[in-house]
Symmetry: C3
Subunit: 384 residues, 3 copies
């Protein structure tokens, strides 16, 4: 079984690369633009535990643990083997690596990333309608095929068809109504993670409400009391439903902004690791979104973890100043690596003084790079 | 082997549910009381990695990693299958879920929890005797069968028969004597985690003392110098002995309480994850203890982690103010999710302003909920 | 396969212990010196997942998850079995433990540790040459056999032959040049983790520079701007290259030391967990280095995590005051357990007021102790 899987993977790689792609020395200058078009399909496969897109249904079952293990212990033979070639029998010594092939795969991922592949993105701010002074939002939960990396479609659950679900953004003091329609084949409910709301609106099936069954709808209504970077997600069968995509940002802007540090731009980064593989905002590198700012701007990054693992997020080039935790403004402190556990949110302000393309990634290195190059929880802050 | 295990589990579930329980639509109103008595045996099985109570001896071998993996990647066929029915052969598409069955299992767990099953609890405050100005405590370590969830007995090690061991509580400046009797079949010793004590009392076999061998006793004596939320646990073969239950809270109340924030009630929550499964104070949901307070009270929660994994504990409804770390009073900061690593303690004060039943759980969702409903590291704060 | 591995391990243990070593009761007084010479080879095997030194090439593939799992779920039969004896067939009850044998193994590890085995250590401060006002350092990356525990050689990658690589220490404002020579069989590059430097010097292949291919050299040059405890490591195929040993400390002393707390001695502790097993500065217990200070001294410990897991480091006997995070001086706070995630650095000051041998270890207990005794991420602070 393991053997078969190994062979399948090699075939997939070979297929993705094409026969001509194997063993070709990439011309590596300082300019990524000079690189020939090389395959990043292997990165995509890596993102969900070595499963090819065709096997995406199984990829959901790949656990973070298995994933990490594959990375560390992967067979070096898997790189540079010709299609269908069995591993050398009886070989016990580690064979020499095909470093040109490794270079090519690393380069291809970077090139694809810097070109920022066209892909449907989630997390866009959601429109609302005003009804008698209430901001009304509509969310529909249903299964989708979600493109985690270019060409790699995964069985997912989504609010309004995207992962993360659309961002809900209101102002402190607003009355908010959210109408949830359930088009899944199982019950669900929404928890407003971090919000101070009436117990009946808390979204925990059988404790604060009945589950919203397939085909049913449920209306949540509450006042947005506490400002900050919050989240919304399923609270039923949540280890599966949330990690498959039923999650989004819920941001309450403070009525009085004077207590919050100033910034010029902002970016919300939601971490994921289970159902859809290692992701930032529902995408694995090279499909992750680069953040572009101008020199001198102050960038607010809202970190939110919706995965099942803790991720220490590391920014190259400039420190981050942590100004709020779970929406509560704290005594600011500086760091270059912020450790974000599931359920936590951190607001970090980056004073973008250094020009360049600075990678920005989980520092559990097996969540962001393999012998095949960067993948998963990797993006960049580009300061122009 | 895996197949056999899968079949066994299905048989266990079927047996627990009874034939009539399968496929029955539960009547889910807003009132949990209306629910028919439904099985939560599956939650119990889930808590220790799918092993039935009869196989409890093996449950100790279930690692957290394997546990989490089972949750994420579990076979949806496992729910709603008739007893003894083999999985459909050749089926590659994910079958529709039996959402009524899922509802029933989720509901049953909540109902059992809200009824607060009668179960022997550990962590009760320990009586002492005064001898010449010394507070004397007696602890006996021995193997027990410990009921982690209702009806599920696990091979455990316990101090005085309970997990966690009884709480030791003294006042700063007290002289404390603890007499340990070892009725295990292996050596042991107690480390006073967080306490400032003479090196000879530190409890590390072969470094500060010989091991306390089977049948032997050892007397620890020291002055309680530094106030705060501390712990005591085995420091021999500790990855096994501690996670099987040789642990407890050691709380030193400050002589001068003016430096510590005020509170009305307190609750100690000890996290566990390995030998006994995912537990709060030695119990998995639905056997976990609900915390009940009156509106307006300030609740002190003392988090302590005695497991092998880091757990971000999330309270719904109200923020927590972290006032001390490892017993040392810190600059207070607010959050709704506190990330507690093994060995750490955090004192959190909750201003209980919001009425309702607020769930309180590890936000690594696979430690608290599965397709079978809530389990493991899940409880609730009930504000009346 | 699993069976075969189990048998091999028993044979290895038996071989290491010698027939006479089995079942011998160790004389355990309070003096470790009285202990007979007992085997710690089993600790070494434990450190890399049960693989014997002869199988070191495979040890690299042992993942942390598998490692931890082996610890928790290990077969108690593995201790005290006679050489070549198969497990009792059909036995389902847990057999009584051979606690004398357990004692002997625990004692042996401690004895070996306290004797501080002679072993090549990494992390020594690196000499530089001055060229036109520039401090010039030379680093060569190449494969080595690294002795993780006494006699246990592991396939590693090293800078200048040691793990961690030599410490680079400069003063804020210095101009620094580092010439990297690549003698690996794959491309590499160095990232200066935490340093504020020009983007072209950031060490990310295909983004800020081409990879440094086998046989090539690359020169990094920059000004040391921000003081603090930083790191340098590979940023290509990093999950493998870093965890195999391509890492080191990069410390920038502040020009003006008045903003930094005072201390008498310092110690850098780099955490590792993947390629080389659970290590502190590239060594597993009992080869870890004890830290010796005089009573009354203030010890600065610079924690740095270069592994793939988060490690909560616990010091017995005295609190730590955290004074800086990622090189940035923070509001000091006290704790006895500091949770260090990959990529993070914490500066902790210990006021060494308590005399004794205080163990200092990761409090994920399965990273530091097994039934065979202490191993991995365990050392001691000895206050004289």
């Amino acid at each position: 079984m393991a053997n078969t899987a190994g062979l399948s993977r090699r075939r997939v790689l070979a297929g993705a690369l094409g026969a001509g792609g194997l063993g070709v020395l990439v011309a590596c200058g300082n300019q990524v633009d000079q690189l020939q078009s090389a395959p990043y399909a292997t990165n995509a496969a890596r993102n969900t535990g070595g499963n090819a897109p065709a096997a995406a249904g199984q990829a959901v079952a790949a656990t973070p643990a298995a994933h990490g293990s594959a990375m560390v212990g992967m067979d070096p033979n898997a790189i540079g083997q010709s299609a269908g070639t069995a591993p050398a029998s009886g070989a016990t010594a580690t064979p020499a690596k095909d470093w040109q092939m490794m270079n090519q795969m690393h380069a291809a991922g970077v090139k694809a990333f810097l070109a920022q592949p066209k892909t449907l993105r989630g997390g866009q701010r959601m429109a609302y309608t005003m009804q008698d002074g209430v901001k009304v939002f509509n969310l529909t939960a249903k299964p989708v095929q979600w493109e985690v990396t270019p060409g790699q479609m995964i069985d997912a659950y989504a609010y309004n068809g995207v992962v993360p679900g659309p961002e809900i953004r209101v102002t402190q003091g607003d009355t908010v109504r959210v109408i949830l329609k359930n088009e899944l084949d199982e019950g669900t409910a929404i928890h407003w993670h971090g919000l101070l709301i009436p117990n009946a609106m808390d979204g925990v099936p059988f404790i604060t409400q009945p589950p919203v069954n397939p085909g049913e709808s449920f209306t949540y209504e509450f006042t947005a009391r506490n400002p900050g970077s919050h989240m919304y997600h399923s609270h039923m069968n949540s280890a599966e439903q949330v990690t498959k995509g039923l999650l989004g940002a819920f941001i309450i802007e403070p009525k009085d902004k004077s207590a919050y540090p100033t910034f010029d731009k902002e970016y919300t980064m939601i971490l994921g690791d289970a159902g859809l593989g290692f992701t930032l905002n529902g995408k694995g590198f090279p499909a992750t979104e680069a953040i572009t700012v101008n020199k001198g701007e102050k960038l607010l990054v809202r970190f939110m973890n919706e995965g099942l693992m803790i991720h220490p997020m590391h920014l190259h080039g400039m420190p981050m100043t942590i100004v709020a935790q779970d929406g509560y403004v704290n005594t600011p402190y500086k760091c270059d690596t912020v450790n974000v556990a599931p359920g936590q949110r951190f607001d970090a302000i980056v004073d973008c003084t250094e020009v360049g393309t600075w990678v920005f990634h989980c520092h559990i290195l097996s969540h962001a790079e393999s012998e095949h190059g960067m993948f998963g929880m990797m993006t960049a802050l580009i300061v122009k």
